[in-house]
């Protein structure tokens, strides 16, 4: 126990003395939450659109007013010819043009049918999709309102409810993703680097000659990073609740328990990397490609797993972050309990035990 205490104390000295690294480790989650929460958002707000109104009647005016009133659109300019539509897009700031043909209101009232054209800049397909959907919805709204005055024989009215995230805020999926990313970075990369550093310095050799058992060395190395991760979990949760207004709907205790489980999995992976490499650069490179990229790309945080080709879907199942991300989404956003995430929890625990056993075994083999 005395050995263990001395070792952990030493590890904390390392972390506390290296101010720059500590600042990065503690500051990174804050910066990432802010970047992902505010800047990198899929939401469309105040998109600039152009209106080409050939009709200028009561109906088009009403629709344009509604478009303007919505927070999604900002009418940048009115244009007066088809050439100008093209020019507006090439200028780059207009993302959507709405073209009303001549006699729009007249057609609507006399033939019961009028057309409106939505022209979107699809160089960014996601944004184009979202914008046309929003615009269509607004126009349909207007249509519904005038329909109230008439009777149609058959209508299907779709009513949508967005559960768990009624405002469709991007932060709801970003927060769990950032948690996975930050814990992964701090635990996997830092653990790998700190052990490999001792190998480079030659101090690991001294440690192995000492009576301290390898398993104790490994645990003592991991403890400070576990502590750091808990601080990071706390700061991410505080920021998400109070700044991004993403609530913790489920049990906080469960969320923290799952986070610690994921942290341990990452630590085990870091240990494995450290026993397989002998330079800090290699360790960092392997952590980044082996853990960071899959976490970002395959965990479902950036791209939905359902849309991936089958081999990638299978691969995504091997990434611990996939399971953690799904757990955090369920517990934090949907407010479910352990009964809903026990499967994911078991998978994560299994991965942790497997990685830890493997890394301890590798650590010992190196000794023989």
């Amino acid at each position: 126990m005395k050995q263990f205490r001395s070792f952990v104390k030493k590890e904390f000295y390392h972390i506390l003395r290296d101010r720059r690294t500590m600042f990065i480790l503690l500051g990174m989650p804050i910066v990432q939450i802010i970047i992902f929460g505010f800047a990198l958002t899929n939401e469309v707000k105040n998109s600039r659109i152009a209106i080409f109104d050939n009709s200028k009647d009561a109906a088009t005016t009403a629709i344009i007013q509604e478009l303007e009133a919505s927070r999604y659109f900002d009418i940048k300019k009115n244009i007066y010819s088809y050439q100008d539509v093209e020019t507006a897009f090439k200028g780059g700031d207009v993302k959507l043009a709405i073209v009303f043909p001549q006699r729009f209101d007249h057609d609507l009232k006399h033939f019961n049918k009028a057309q409106v054209q939505l022209v979107a800049d699809a160089s960014d397909p996601n944004v184009a999709n979202t914008l046309t959907n929003y615009a269509t919805a607004i126009i349909r709204d207007y249509q519904d309102r005038i329909l109230d005055n008439r009777q149609l024989p058959y209508t299907i009215h779709t009513e949508m409810r967005m559960l768990y995230n009624p405002q469709l805020k991007g932060a709801y999926s970003m927060v769990p993703g950032v948690m996975a990313m930050v814990l992964m970075l701090v635990c996997t990369m830092m653990t790998a680097i700190t052990i490999v550093k001792e190998k480079e310095l030659g101090t690991m050799e001294i440690m192995l000659v000492s009576p301290m058992q390898p398993i104790k060395i490994i645990i003592a190395k991991a403890v400070p990073y576990l502590a750091l991760s808990i601080v990071n979990i706390a700061s991410i949760l505080l920021l998400s609740v109070f700044v991004l207004e993403v609530p913790v709907n489920g049990s906080l205790v469960l969320l923290i328990f799952e986070s610690i489980l994921f942290t341990l999995t990452c630590l085990a992976f870091g240990l494995l990397i450290s026993s397989a490499t002998s330079s800090q650069q290699t360790a960092m490179f392997i952590s980044l490609t082996g853990m960071f990229l899959p976490t970002v790309m395959l965990s479902g945080f950036m791209f939905p797993i359902e849309n991936m080709p089958l081999p990638l879907q299978i691969l995504s199942r091997v990434v611990p972050a996939t399971w953690y991300y799904s757990i955090v989404k369920s517990v934090m956003i949907k407010g479910t309990g352990l009964e809903a995430v026990w499967k994911e929890t078991l998978v994560l625990a299994g991965m942790m035990v497997f990685l830890l056993a493997l890394s301890i075994k590798k650590f010992k083999i190196r000794l023989a």
């Binding site: 005395k2 050995q3 205490r5 001395s6 070792f7 104390k9 030493k10 000295y13 390392h14 003395r17 290296d18 310095l201 030659g202 101090t203 050799e205 001294i206 440690m207 192995l208 000659v209 000492s210 009576p211 301290m212 058992q213 000794l367 023989a368």
Partner: protein
């Protein structure tokens, strides 16, 4: 006391596949002796030393270190030896005191004992004023002497020094050897590898490894007579020339 054997190796062998890194070496080291363990690069010194330190299990042969078996009692061996490697082995971002406390801590020493002995060791090294300075700010020679003090801080039976004076100036090297003599006088056995042949002359007895075997063993005087040489340097060159194994 002089004849108490603290290291007994008998036909100690380590093979990696077909390659015998250490090939049936046998020797004994007495308590309080300064034993020079010489050999060209790749001769098998490091592998032999790793087996004696309990870091590596031998392929065959037997050895006892501080009375403990290198196969089954490695944990007990580790408790009773000290080790200092050619790579500088203190933490530069820890202070002198913290380094001492850390190493004493992993050897399981009690706080009161550590405190008392730290003061003593610092006084001995004339480092009282530097106790709270980061080790990184000390000159290399001081670091090396501090590393040695740390290696014998827990009063081991044997201290293994793996090329301890690499890159150190001649004056500091001499001071370093003074410390080695002082430690040996207190009954600590010193097992040292070196590439400096003048240092070999300082040892009580010297063994020279060539291609995984011990080709010569004796006091520097005996070896010089045996190989008809005037310096240890000549003895070493005569033996090393026979070597078939090189680093490459």
């Amino acid at each position: 006391m002089q004849n108490e054997k603290v290291i007994i190796a008998d036909k100690l062998t380590k093979r990696f596949g077909d390659f015998a890194a250490v090939d049936e070496i046998s020797f004994e080291v007495n308590r309080g002796e300064i034993f020079g363990f010489l050999g060209a690069n790749g001769a098998g010194k490091t592998t032999a030393m790793r087996m004696l330190c309990g870091l590596s299990i031998p392929t065959s042969g037997t050895a006892k270190v501080a009375g403990f078996d290198v196969y089954k009692q490695t944990e007990k061996i580790k408790k009773n030896i000290g080790y200092m490697s050619q790579k500088f082995s203190l933490y530069e971002d820890l202070t002198v005191k913290e380094n001492i406390r850390f190493y004493a801590g992993i050897y399981g020493m009690r706080d009161a004992e550590i405190r008392e002995k730290t003061e003593h060791a610092l006084k001995h090294l004339h480092l009282e004023g530097e106790a709270d300075k980061l080790v990184g700010s000390l000159p290399l020679g001081w670091k090396q002497k501090l590393a040695f003090s740390v290696a014998i801080f827990h009063e081991p039976d044997i201290v293994f020094l793996d090329e301890p004076t690499g890159g150190v100036d001649p004056v500091t090297r001499r001071e370093f050897w003074k410390m080695i003599y002082q430690a040996a006088a207190t009954g600590i056995t010193v097992f040292v590898t070196t590439h400096y042949m003048d240092e070999a002359e300082y040892c009580n007895r010297v063994s020279i490894m060539v291609d995984g075997r011990i080709d010569a063993l004796g006091t520097p005087g005996e070896l010089k007579r045996q190989f008809n040489a005037s310096t240890m340097d000549e003895v070493f060159v005569k033996l090393a020339r026979k070597a078939r194994r090189t680093d490459a």
